[in-house]
Symmetry: none
Subunit: 410 residues, 2 copies
């Protein structure tokens, strides 16, 4: 039996629906992959009695509990106090935690506000989790055979602390037999198309198949039981890859974590020391934003005037215009590759979730070009995401399958 | 006292984190607006014992409970059975529900699969909620003075049933006095600074104060009880505004919903028919991406070469360079305003969550300029967000407080 673990989210903003609790889902995914059985999520607001009642309940029910939120400096952050009262562990001033908080402000050239002192008060006997990403230290403790971990509610702080500190600590405290998860990361096929292609391969009954669609990639998930023969995994994945063709841009879990599409593209470009210049229209800066910090991105621009081209040009004229713009951009920027995106459709159609746009992506290189046309759908933000990732995917396909390059005809 | 209500989400996909539970947040918002006090969200998987235990708990704790999920036709949909067993209300075949389900398939020219018959089994004495949007009927019943409402988990079906049937029914069963929520939306002050400024105003004890920090705005939330005199709300908000100065960019709930910073800026620029050109460095396209679809954004660019300026220039040189770039950009783009962002710091410092960058934002207009310097901190993505919103905030401050404009000295 896998050890049971519960999630507990604290915050009036969660319980009143002002924010959606993404922390619980994020942590659950990681915990399930580690081999825990996640049995319950609970969210309560910032009433001390509710917090105490819940802590007491969980201590009697589960073997582990991860709590997020309520560690801030303000008066509505009551988690440490609730733990102290529920478990009879009076709050004690932690000198090291206090220094850490003061340091956090000093590094930013700021004086620590007096209210932040409160964050250095931890329940007696708790183990501190230092937080380099914010002011709230986390802490953990054992109560009634349940291992409690308290983390800040800000998602990125919580995620950093979990990955860098909590995960390894949990793995050492519990006996876990993780299942093996292989994720095929794809772009360019919808969920039903992925399912149809996958159905052509017969999977053993013990292998659990799942699909997950997001704005940035569509995943096929294969969950293998702990005792599944390792030598049989790779041939099965190869069979699936044959059915899915160039849609797969990475496989996670087989050898290493390949990361997302940006990192796949970056690995290749960085290794070859190649550079890219972008001209965005429908994605309006989002593709550049997703590539932040990448040395290969030397230039990106959005110019409203190119949105209007579609009103006067046919599809083949648009593709030729994109080719010309790409080659000019290569010259002016001195980048190896230029990626140009044009689209046809009015601003009204762009904003209307019921209407579609046609996107024309062109990649130009010194030796030739690649082109891809795609229909994008949904809300403005959804279209923007599709536009950004379909342009990036053209670059990815070229880098992974250079045979897709067409020579110039001029 | 407002009646207490809890939310209960059923599904293995929720508890294992394969999907984020958006139903709970959606329903909570509506319930809080109606005047309920939402005290707890709980999600459990599809184990019968867990479902029964939770139902029994809630019946003892709350005055109302909305449950979503687990009403489907498959073997892992166990909500009705759990209710039957937990509350001793045996399942009975509901003829009308069955006809409704059959009808759903007939209207689509389909034959009802045999498994769907199960959905017509409802706990004895439950009131049926007809579902025209899917196959699963909802139902409701009173147990131990707690009014339970069971709805399907598909968000669209759940929302339609809630709005069209459940909401009015709840309003008739409970005595509700909705509270009034006022939200002050700010940028440029951290949570602790906001708390300190707010502390200078004495709030009546009945007013609940809350804070919420995100990457895009920091909010101060004031919850007024239903009987709070309306005429006293506005003077109290004015007092707070005086303490917070130009940090507040919008107040929600006093007159209308003001929206986020992009919409505040857009309302002003669109009304004045003014346009903006951007030069981004640290935000790397994110500011443009956030302004997608805005007719006032006529040009945006990112050029890697400007990241390197900081290595050779002092702070005042950087500001002068930004001024020159802004005025050149105004000329080349014909935009009324140019917003230029430069920063000092190496690529390594940018990527390191422990190191900070100094951001220099300059807004140029025909008549003068505004300048703002800010330290940005945290991960690459966090710095990127801060850079985007601190540049946008400079434009926002100028639009709301034109007295901030400095004349050119040349």
């Amino acid at each position: 039996m896998n050890p049971t673990i519960e999630l507990f989210s604290q915050g009036e903003e969660v319980v009143t629906g002002q924010i959606t609790d993404t922390n619980a889902a994020w942590l659950s995914q990681h915990l399930v992959e580690m081999g825990f059985s996640v049995t319950r999520h609970t969210a309560v607001g910032d009433k001390l009695a509710d917090l105490k009642a819940l802590l007491t309940e969980i201590a009697q029910r589960a073997e582990g509990c991860l709590c997020t939120g309520g560690l801030g400096p303000t008066s509505d952050d009551l988690t440490a106090q609730a733990v102290a009262e529920a478990f009879g562990l009076p709050l004690e001033f932690d000198e090291t935690a206090f220094e850490h908080i003061q340091h956090f402000f000093q590094r930013r050239g700021l004086t620590m506000p007096a209210v932040n002192r409160k964050q250095a008060l931890l329940p007696k006997g708790a183990m501190r989790i230092d937080n380099d990403f914010g002011t709230a230290p986390g802490f953990c403790l054992l109560q009634n055979n349940c291992w409690f971990v308290f983390l800040p509610g800000v998602p990125y702080e919580m995620q950093q602390l979990f990955i860098q500190q909590v995960k390894a600590d949990l793995a050492s405290r519990f006996t876990l037999t993780p299942q093996r998860l292989i994720t095929l990361k794809t772009w360019g096929m919808g969920e039903s198309q992925l399912q149809q292609q996958t159905n052509q391969v017969t999977l053993p009954e013990t292998v659990q198949l799942g699909f997950r669609a997001s704005l940035e990639e569509n995943q096929i998930k294969l969950l293998f039981p702990p005792d599944y023969p390792v030598t049989e995994i790779s041939p099965l994945v190869t069979q699936l890859l044959e059915k899915l063709g160039t849609a797969v841009f990475a496989v996670d879990g087989l050898h290493e974590q390949a990361g997302d599409m940006v990192s796949v593209v970056s690995q290749s470009l960085t290794a070859q020391k190649q550079t890219v210049a972008l001209l965005e229209t429908a994605s309006c800066g989002l593709l550049a934003a997703k590539c932040i910090g990448q040395p290969w991105l030397i230039e990106a621009s959005y110019q409203q005037k190119f949105n209007a081209l579609a009103q006067t040009q046919t599809a083949s004229q648009l593709i030729n215009t994109a080719l010309d713009l790409g080659r000019a951009l290569q010259r002016s920027s001195c980048a190896e590759f230029a990626l140009v995106q044009l689209y046809s459709g009015t601003p009204a159609a762009f904003a209307d979730p019921q209407q579609t746009l046609t996107l024309y992506n062109v990649l130009t290189t010194a030796r030739g070009f690649c082109q891809h046309t795609q229909i994008i759908t949904g809300t403005l933000q959804r279209k923007q995401h599709q536009a950004a990732f379909s342009a990036l995917d053209l670059l990815r396909r070229f880098l992974q399958h250079t045979e897709l390059l067409c020579p110039y005809y001029d």
